[in-house]
């Protein structure tokens, strides 16, 4: 965990291509981290939520982009952090009944964005309208 690749922070996560196998290393580019720190300090604090979602992943979707290139997939991991930063120096419980936290990765497993989304009222771990927005629910394979 940490800086395995120069210019990146790396963090272990479930590999959606083989969920029972070895983990995949998700990469946070240093310039992305720096940009959030210098320009979106509240979101920078919420990198903590990204880590929580990667540690406690509830769902993984593929097919996030309409124009995916060949076999390359864009990924969405979801979960419910306990708390998050809502404005400068203010932390609050994450409203997990109505929102779900989504972490988006590109085909190289590089983090590119993360955000709260309205949750599906029937499936709190899924963003609303997930059946039409994403190509496939990859993990877990079946949900009740």
């Amino acid at each position: 965990m940490g800086s395995g690749t120069p210019g990146y922070f790396e963090y272990r996560a479930i590999d959606p291509r083989d969920p029972g196998g070895p983990p995949v290393m998700v990469r946070f580019a240093r310039d992305l981290i720096t940009w959030y720190y210098e320009n979106r300090s509240v979101d920078y604090e919420n990198f903590r939520c990204v880590r929580h979602v990667l540690d406690h992943t509830e769902r993984i979707f593929r097919g996030v982009r309409d124009y995916e290139e060949g076999e390359l997939s864009w990924w969405c991991y979801t979960g419910h952090p306990k708390e998050w930063c809502i404005k400068e120096n203010v932390f609050a419980p994450f409203p997990g009944r109505s929102l779900v936290f989504a972490v988006y990765l590109n085909p190289k497993f590089e983090l590119y964005t993360f955000r709260a989304e309205r949750a599906d009222p029937q499936q709190r771990a899924c963003p609303i309208n997930w059946r039409s927005r994403y190509g496939e629910l990859l993990w877990p394979k079946s949900i009740s």
Partner: protein
Amino acid sequence: MAEEHFLKDYVEGKPGFKPEAWYNQYGDCVVYQTANEATYAERLDSLTTLYRSVIDDRVIGFQIKGVKEILKALKCGILAEGAGKESDETISLIALVIAACKLSHDREANKDQLEALAELIPHMAHEKVPIPRAA
């Protein structure tokens, strides 16, 4: 009080906020936000996502994805993998918003969402987005 940030070794100086548009090369998207508040996303259409403040639900920003495709459709060949910062070009943020609305293949946006997006226009009237230039 939150515990020490796990990325603290990757940053220096003071944290801040700038209401500026940014082209995110890792996601081929442009993000723009007018307030330093946590948001939740609300899909406008296949290319544009609104960001609403969790504090009062007002629209304070958006994300436009698929920027390379949008610019290709507009015949603005200014993007290339690995292009250097020193050769950045800029595109008007409003032009990008209009292009994304025009090129989206679906039309899910309702009147309230479009009005909320329009309310951001005075904030972004002069906003330019630096985008890597084609090599």
